[in-house]
Subunit: 204 residues, 2 copies
């Protein structure tokens, strides 16, 4: 059984490109630093891979010649390993980023809306609580996105990350508005009003 792709190195998962993308900005960094950076900004518009996944991708990228690494300090195992993008890597990434291939549709998994969709199985109050919890969380996220943007601002090499983070800031704002609009919609669902028998108006 011949393998379907062996030498075809153009077919990497988006995660690999995202990690290589992190390396495409000036400077060397460790897997650990990459993870923190992903947590702080990548995750707002893409997502932050598990640390073990990052290490795995780094090994793959190095195997492809897209990244290089060196130990800082003595040649011992389990010491810091600094990664950098190679010229080949930069070319491959540029081709991926600017190629004609469709970016593909955004993927959204919204556990809150999934539960609202099943609202017939829960109580209206519980639904409201959930949405409000989500609003609170989103406010936190918005703040973090703004912090990330503030950190990127003024640095010329980060012009495009700034654009992405401005998008993220607006996206979080939109998320808040969506949640509030949903709250209003929920109040209008038939059968929602009467939760307490005491609310029942006096019968004629």
């Amino acid at each position: 059984m011949p393998k379907k792709q062996d030498t075809r190195h153009g077919q990497l998962p988006p995660t690999a490109w995202a990690v290589l993308g992190l390396l495409s900005f000036p400077g060397e960094r460790t897997g650990y630093e990459l993870k923190k950076w992903a947590d702080a900004s990548l995750r707002f518009f893409y997502w932050s891979p598990a640390i073990s996944q990052i290490y795995a991708e780094l090994r793959r990228l190095e195997g492809l010649g897209y990244a290089s690494s060196r130990r800082s300090g003595p040649e011992e195992p389990r010491t810091k390993r600094q990664y950098a993008i190679t010229e080949t890597g930069r070319e491959a990434l540029a081709e991926w980023a600017s190629g004609t291939a469709d970016s593909g549709p955004p993927v959204l998994k919204h556990p809150l809306v999934l539960r609202i969709w099943l609202g017939h199985l829960a109580s209206p109050e519980r639904l409201r609580e959930r949405v409000e919890l989500h609003v609170a969380r989103t406010e936190g996220e918005l703040k973090e996105a703004r912090d990330a943007l503030a950190r990127a601002e003024g640095i010329e090499e980060w012009s495009y990350p700034q654009v992405a983070l401005r998008w993220s800031e607006r996206q979080q704002l939109a998320e808040l508005e969506l949640a509030r609009a949903m709250l209003a919609d929920l109040a209008r669902v038939p059968g929602t009003a009467r939760q307490h028998p005491s609310d029942t108006p006096t019968p004629g």
Copy 2:
């Protein structure tokens, strides 16, 4: 070493609950129908599993006693199999939907913004094209979300799916605005007029 969970059947992946959720609305249906339904509405706020995944989840749900199935027609393999939720299944789903456990944050993977983030590796025109392609696609999605909403409207049992779909409609509208705002931001990126070969920038 005792297994950590064996009889604990409360720990299903969201996909399983989503599939069971599809079954929680009145009527029996086949895996095939579930897939079409997921494509038409679930995917706007959650996502549509592959058909093979749906069949797998249905088998698991049946194994747990959360769903039951029957063949329509003769007892032959590969004939239509109609699934329905059981009472146990409905209870488990209701507990999941209304439980106190946090719904978890929404997960967004936006391949377009990922590439914009890497804009320093592409030409401004190409970036613009990508965004415009995304706008066109989103307009299509908006229309489909509206169609789904129209189909749900007026049916009382679908009040909550209506709320979810209204959310989706607004979400697609927000997506359009975000894309347009990003287009404006992109036009303002310094050095946008022409592309430069690599400067060697210094961080910090």
